[in-house]
């Protein structure tokens, strides 16, 4: 193989110009990659062999050992990167790494028992881990020198020696002494690889004066990358139960393929960094992305079958989880290349850009991930963040971007842009801290999006009441990331995070930069944007498009440029395709256009012409929605459901048949401070005299046309729905005018930044208001008495944990079917409408019920309970947020 590569290199050198350069670089990458893939295949073969030779707990222990070994060797392997950039690093660090490795070995030996307890590993494995340490540093350093000297043949030999040794030695020892034998094989093979590499390394020649600090920085960057790649495995093993940990071990092994395959790509790049050209970066990115993409695509063909055939049938479930994890590792491969490139330019920037995702991953896995799926999703999110951050930094450094108009560049690099990026990151973190499971509407959306695309559209047309844009996005999302809790919420999270820069841009354009940044800051943790960013429904998109539509309209009315009309038309159209109630805002906007045309005779002609064109375009774009909506309406009328088949939560006071002023106030409080327990809401609404104070505060304040338009855009749709709610109370619901929320945030930001000229007073106002939002957010997110919180996840998991084959799960009301199926796919589910099963029909009967505030549903639940009590006896009664479970025998 290496001979072939040498010939190809020789041919490539004969080609002229940049094409030759790229070809040469590609060939170089390909050669090293061949060795790495060979090593990877060998390692995979070793894993497969061990998966079959060891029992699940042994294999999980080996996977955990492997991950720790990687965690030990990867930071040290990061020395490879440093050494590739500065070969003299070996001279400086060889002794120190050996000493440090011996120190690690001694500590591991001394603390084998407690460390084993802590890491859920046997003490022997801990000792073996320590024994591997002294060889890891020298191996990494010498490989770096091989990269720097372009000794690809010796490098390939060293790479292949390791899996070969593992297979031979592990195959012999594992059947005899289990995981310990396999681990011993791993350790010994590492030393064998060192010997091979050492034999190939050339004598060190003096090069240009090394940049020691840069080499150290590269080492730090690759340490962080190693942490990002491996800490989820270690944490997963600690926080997940035995079965889930084993499942994730399989997933991580599969993901490791993509990660492993791209390890060499940045090393080759680093060796070329001294040349100061950009071609190596393009080739390296293409290689990393291509290899990662190939791995994902190859596995996505038949994930369950592949996982089952590779790891045994009991791990077939890992297939679905492995796709997002493979994607995560593919993204990590790209991030590695980008971080390597950045390391050549800046010492600190890549470290900062990678430290954030690494910390986020640590926190999220430790705090919220409680399943193999969850850990995989967290890793996907954080590696995506790392790739995006490093990619953006590299892009900003690109000559083409540097040649961009000065104002655009300065805008991108401005402190304000950095602040917005920071706020958006905070918003992302806040939105990832999800504290609740799915509820019925989300489960319904997921069930629909899991269908084939045409089947989904048909289902929407015949059974649903919403337009198809969000569902189409969810459909795509599920195809890419699966149906896990986090995965199905990704479109909403993305829209919720995008709301932050959108509000900044709108605030800066409509008012000033200060208003924009405050609006963005408030949106990052305002309760409603957070809540609906964490819900697998269309409301986060609703908010995003509403802001852009209003922003676009103001731009149109101010300047009326074609690009403003395009922005407005696109946002308004998207709004219509997202939520039918968005049309209330669009209709109001048309009235505003008409008013503007009437009141501005000087610009009436151009405005009317542009309005007509935009209207025609919007009509064409929305036209397909008309028959769709009509079909939905007809189908719902025919089935007797009408629009809104699930109960509303409009804040209607018990005993009232339609929303009154208090319901309106409650929705107003929700809009700003989020959802809270009923008792809290009663207290908050009792504070309405403070609204009088606010009205007095507004006396004499300037109220610009922009603010008037924003206010009308926020309030008029709500008032319309309030009026409609008098006959159909379930339609007056904050969700249906959720577009008002970001507009209120924008108005609040304007108020906070312009209320008083005193900086201190403005800051105090912003802090007080922000603190009230934060308090609202915390209560909304963690208070189990929040009436919008439905803990179906815990309830169904509790049933699943207690249920046995032959047991029956009854649910009420009818629309709990999808949510119960989502969390308990193997359960025998029946609606209470089918009646109570006879004693002979089921061993045990579980009843899960919700929506107790709706008399009809509550009565049906009571009837079912009576029927069950007549025939069986109650064993267990469970109670969660708005969900109850009864178990009968």
């Amino acid at each position: 193989m290496t001979t072939g590569v040498t010939e190809t290199v020789a041919r490539a050198r004969a080609l002229p110009g940049a094409a030759a350069d790229r070809r040469l670089l590609a060939v170089e990458q390909l050669g090293v990659l061949g060795g790495q893939i060979g090593a990877g295949v060998g390692n995979l073969a070793f894993s497969l062999a061990m998966a079959r030779l060891l029992d699940p707990s042994g294999f999980a222990a080996l996977a955990s050992f492997g991950a720790l070994y990687l965690l030990l060797t990867m930071p040290v392997t990061s020395l490879t990167a440093g050494s590739a950039l500065d070969p003299a690093l070996e001279l400086r660090l060889l002794r120190r790494t050996v000493r440090a490795g011996i120190g690690v070995a001694v500590v591991a030996g001394a603390l084998a028992l407690p460390l084993g307890e802590l890491l859920h590993l046997s003490p022997v494995l801990v000792v073996l881990l320590g024994l591997a340490a002294p060889g890891a540093g020298p191996l990494a350093l010498v490989r770096g020198r091989l990269y720097a000297a372009r000794r690809h043949r010796g490098l390939g030999a060293s790479l292949l020696a390791e899996p070969l040794g593992r297979l031979l030695l592990g195959g012999a020892l594992a059947p005899a002494i289990g995981a310990t034998g396999a681990a011993l094989a791993i350790v010994v093979s590492g030393y064998a690889s060192l010997v091979v590499a050492r034999r190939a390394v050339p004598a060190l020649r003096p090069l240009a004066p090394p940049d020691r600090r840069r080499a150290s920085s590269v080492v730090a960057v690759f340490v962080l990358l190693a942490v990002l790649q491996n800490q989820d495995v270690v944490l997963g093993n600690a926080v997940l139960g035995g079965g889930a940990a084993g499942l994730f071990a399989v997933v991580s092994t599969l993901g490791g393929i993509a990660a492993f395959a791209t390890v060499t790509v940045p090393m080759v790049l680093l060796a070329r960094l001294r040349e100061g050209r950009r071609e190596p970066l393009g080739v390296a990115v293409a290689f990393a992305a291509g290899i990662g993409g190939l791995a994902v695509a190859a596995f996505a063909v038949a994930p369950a079958a592949l996982a089952g055939s590779l790891f045994g049938a009991r791990y077939a479930d890992a297939g679905g989880i492995a796709i997002p994890y493979l994607l995560a590792m593919a993204l990590l491969g790209v991030a590695r290349v980008l971080a390597a490139q950045l390391s050549g330019r800046s010492r600190r920037l890549p470290i900062w850009l990678l430290a954030g995702p690494a910390l986020l991953q640590l926190g999220l896995v430790a705090v919220i991930a409680r399943s193999a799926e969850g850990v995989a999703e967290v890793t996907l999110g954080t590696t995506a963040l790392a790739a995006a951050a490093t990619g953006a930094a590299v892009a900003l450094d690109h000559p083409a971007v540097r040649r961009a108009p000065a104002h655009a560049l300065s805008a991108l690099r401005s402190p304000a842009a950095l602040r917005v990026a920071g706020v958006a990151t905070v918003a992302l973190v806040v939105r990832l801290l999800i504290t609740r499971g799915l509820w019925v509407d989300e489960a319904s959306s997921v069930a629909q999006a899991e269908m084939g695309f045409h089947a989904m559209l048909h289902n929407l047309r015949t059974t649903d009441v919403h337009p198809p844009l969000y569902f189409s996005l969810l459909w795509l999302d599920i195809r890419l990331f699966g149906s896990g809790e986090l995965a199905v919420r990704l479109p909403s999270i993305a829209a919720g995070v995008a709301l932050v820069p959108a509000l900044y841009a709108a605030g800066r354009d409509l008012y000033d930069r200060r208003a924009g940044i405050v609006a963005a800051g408030l949106a990052a943790f305002a309760p409603q944007p957070v809540w609906y960013s964490q819900e697998a429904r269309m409301y986060a998109l609703f908010m995003l498009f509403a802001v852009i539509a209003v922003w676009g309209q103001v731009r149109v009315l101010r300047r009326g440029r074609p690009r403003d009309w395009v922005l407005y038309t696109a946002a308004a159209t998207a709004l219509a395709w997202t939520q039918y109630f968005g049309l209330l805002l669009v209709a109001l906007q048309q009235a505003v256009f008409a008013l503007a045309a009437w009141r501005r005779p000087a610009t009436r002609g151009p405005l009317l012409r542009s309005w007509a064109v935009a209207g025609a375009v919007a009509f064409v774009l929305v036209a397909p929605l008309v028959p769709f909506a009509y079909h939905q309406f007809a189908a719902n009328q025919a089935s007797g459901r009408g629009f809104g088949s699930t109960p509303s939560q409009a804040g209607v006071i018990t005993g009232e048949t339609h929303p009154g002023l208090y319901a309106f106030l409650a929705n107003g409080v929700w809009a700003v401070w989020g959802y809270h327990a009923d008792a809290t809401m009663v207290d908050l609404v009792a504070l309405w005299p403070l609204g009088m104070l606010l009205a007095l505060f507004l006396l004499g304040r300037g109220w610009s046309r922009t603010s008037s338009l924003l206010t009308a855009s926020a309030i008029v749709p709500a008032l319309c729905l309030f009026a409609v709610g008098q006959s159909k109370s379930n339609l007056f619901d904050l969700r249906y005018f959720i577009g008002a929320v970001p507009l209120l945030i924008l108005l609040a930001a304007r108020g906070l930044t312009s209320w008083t000229p005193r900086v201190g007073a403005r800051a105090a106002l912003a802090v007080v208001f922000g603190a009230s939002l934060l308090a609202g957010l915390v209560d909304q997110q963690v208070n189990n008495d929040n009436p919008r919180r439905y803990d179906f996840r815990s309830a169904v998991h509790a049933i699943a944990a207690r249920a046995h084959p032959g047991d029956v799960v009854l649910y009420n009301p009818i629309y709990l079917a999808q949510i119960v199926h989502y969390y308990g796919p193997g359960l025998d589910l029946r609606s209470v409408r089918r009646g109570v099963p006879p004693r002979t029909g089921a061993r045990r009967v579980f009843l899960i019920a919700s929506f107790f505030d709706h008399p009809g549903i509550a009565a049906a639940t009571r009837r079912t309970l009576h029927a069950l009590e007549r025939r069986r006896h109650l064993v267990v009664r469970l109670r969660g947020s708005n969900v109850r479970v009864w178990e009968f025998r």
């Binding site: 009154g660 002023l661 208090y662 106030l665 009663v682 207290d683 609404v685 009792a686 504070l687 309405w688 005299p689 403070l690 009088m692 104070l693 009205a695 007095l696 505060f697 507004l698 006396l699 004499g700 304040r701 300037g702 109220w703």
Partner: protein, 514 residues
């Protein structure tokens, strides 16, 4: 003062006439909604089933009805507001005596007034400095400025007596009166004499503009109150023929003045009572809604309180004369509305009392069963009433102005009590320049009420927290916030360096073209 630019020499930043017509139309448009909301609220409130604690209910009802009357008066007045067109100039420039009464004001303040008066165009002007302080410096000033100097041996009747004394010694057919701190524009007479050409017109009043409204919160808030009055209210009163004289920046027909025996000397608001007498005699008044003189308003709380106390005392004392006067009903009602405004402090006292009683004693004016319905009926009325004020004031009436008035609620209580007891008060000249020290004594009643409201709220939270108590605490917080905002000006050390407004010197030639 002398080291600072004189704000009276700058351009006015308020254009009363420019926002008139469209605002008036909007107010009229809101009238119908106001009537509906009022009927909705009072129809509900007056239902006997709403009665909770009878005494408290009676107090609440009285306060609400009083404010309703004031609100209706405001809507009526503002809905009639108009702006007079500029009349043609007189063919022959008449003689005008310009009277500038002084007492013990600084010479620097008076000098600009006298010199501006001497530059008045459109008439043969004779400026008279009416010195009630017997100050040689004033006599010297008059001599230097080419003005006449009139002093008297006996200083009876305060400002009114001073002017009457001058009237007896002068003889021009028209008399312009300026307070000693009001610098007239050269065009003052050109803009007012045309209106006075109508032989039935007794006086032409122009706005009393506070040029120093940029000098701190109290000056700004006091001016915001003035702006509401000299904006929609004065324009409406003019349309209804009920504009009264404000004592400065006014042009009189001497014949009219003499017909009622000059300025009444037994009143603290001699200008107001003079207007009543003139209207009673069938004379008419005119209001020109253009700033034609720039004066100084109160800059500190003590000066503001002193001014308000004098106005309140004078106007409340005038209720009797107004009731007894033979005025047309429309004008009589307008005068009563103006005088009775100074009773509104009593209603504030009632509103502030209610949450305290509710928290401490558990008693409330409305029946418990009605409490949840209160907001439904009250909110539209409140929102529309407040919206109308905001609209009519065209943004000039601010929260600071409202809270300053509320913080002086006790002034109305004191003035009303003294008027009721017929206690005599003496004329106090409003200070022309603010002091730079704290003035907690000027707002101690408001601070005491804030303390009571705070204590009651703390007690309520500690003793019986719940929605009802929280509602009362929110009301208490509302009142306390308003009072504290209003009183804050007295507790803040004035910093001249930062409070100084930007002053643009106004050349005399520009004035004529404006």
């Amino acid at each position: 003062m002398s080291r600072r630019p004189d704000p009276r020499l700058g351009r006015p930043t308020w254009a009363c006439a420019s926002s008139g017509v469209s605002v008036c139309r909007r107010v009229r448009a809101l009238l119908l909604a106001n009537v509906a909301a009022t009927a909705w609220y009072f129809g509900w409130l007056l239902d006997p089933v709403r009665i909770g604690e009878p005494v408290l209910y009676a107090l609440l009802l009285a306060a609400e009805l009083f404010n309703l009357v004031q609100a209706i008066g405001f809507w009526w007045t503002c809905s009639r507001a108009h702006s007079r067109p500029q009349p043609p100039a007189l063919p022959e420039p008449p003689e005008v005596d310009v009277l500038i009464p002084v007492y013990d004001e600084p010479v620097e303040v008076v000098e600009a007034t006298v010199r501006a008066a001497a530059r008045l165009r459109g008439a043969r002007v004779l400026v008279w400095l009416l010195d009630d302080g017997d100050s040689p410096a004033m006599e010297d000033l008059a001599s230097r400025a080419g003005a006449g100097y009139i002093a008297r041996e006996q200083h009876e009747g305060a400002k009114a007596g001073n002017i009457n004394n001058a009237l007896a010694q002068t003889n021009a057919p028209y008399v312009a009166v300026f307070d000693c701190d009001h610098v007239a524009d050269p065009v003052f007479l050109e803009q007012t004499l045309g209106h006075a050409a109508d032989p039935g017109v007794a006086f032409v009043q122009t706005p009393q503009y506070y040029a120093n409204h940029g000098r701190g919160g109290i000056a700004a808030a006091a001016w915001a109150q003035q702006a509401l009055f000299f904006g929609p209210i004065a324009r409406g009163k003019d349309a209804l023929g009920a504009m009264f004289c404000c004592g400065t920046n006014v042009l009189f027909r001497r014949e009219a003045l003499l017909s009622v025996g000059g300025f009444p000397t037994g009143s603290l608001t001699e200008d107001f009572e003079l207007s009543v007498r003139l209207h009673e005699r069938g004379w008419r008044s005119v209001y020109v809604d253009r700033v034609l003189a720039r004066g100084l308003g109160p800059e500190d709380m003590a000066a503001y309180v002193s001014q308000q106390l004098r106005w309140a005392r004078g106007c409340l004392s005038a209720i009797g004369p107004v009731v007894r006067a033979g005025l047309p009903l429309r004008i009589r009602v307008q005068y009563l509305l103006s005088t009775m405004y100074f009773l509104s402090g009593w209603t504030l006292a009632v509103y502030m009392l209610l949450p305290v009683v509710r928290i401490v004693a558990g008693a409330q004016p409305l029946a418990v069963s009605s409490a949840s319905q209160f907001l439904v009926h009250f909110a539209p009325y409140y929102a529309l009433a407040l919206g109308t004020v905001a609209l009519a004031g065209a943004g000039s009436y601010t929260f600071a102005a409202f809270s300053l008035g509320c913080a002086c609620f006790w002034v109305h209580v004191v003035a009303g009590t003294r008027a009721l007891l017929r206690r005599p008060d003496r004329f106090v000249v409003t200070a022309k320049e603010g002091v730079e020290s704290w003035q907690p004594r000027a707002v101690w009643p408001a601070l005491a009420v804030v303390a009571v409201l705070g204590a009651a709220s703390a007690y309520g939270l500690a003793s019986r927290p719940g929605p009802g108590t929280l509602n009362s605490i929110a009301f208490a917080a509302l009142h306390a916030s308003v009072l504290a905002t209003g009183a804050a000006g007295a507790l803040r050390l004035r910093r001249r360096a930062t409070a100084e407004p930007r002053t643009e010197l106004l050349p005399a030639t520009d004035v004529s073209r404006r």
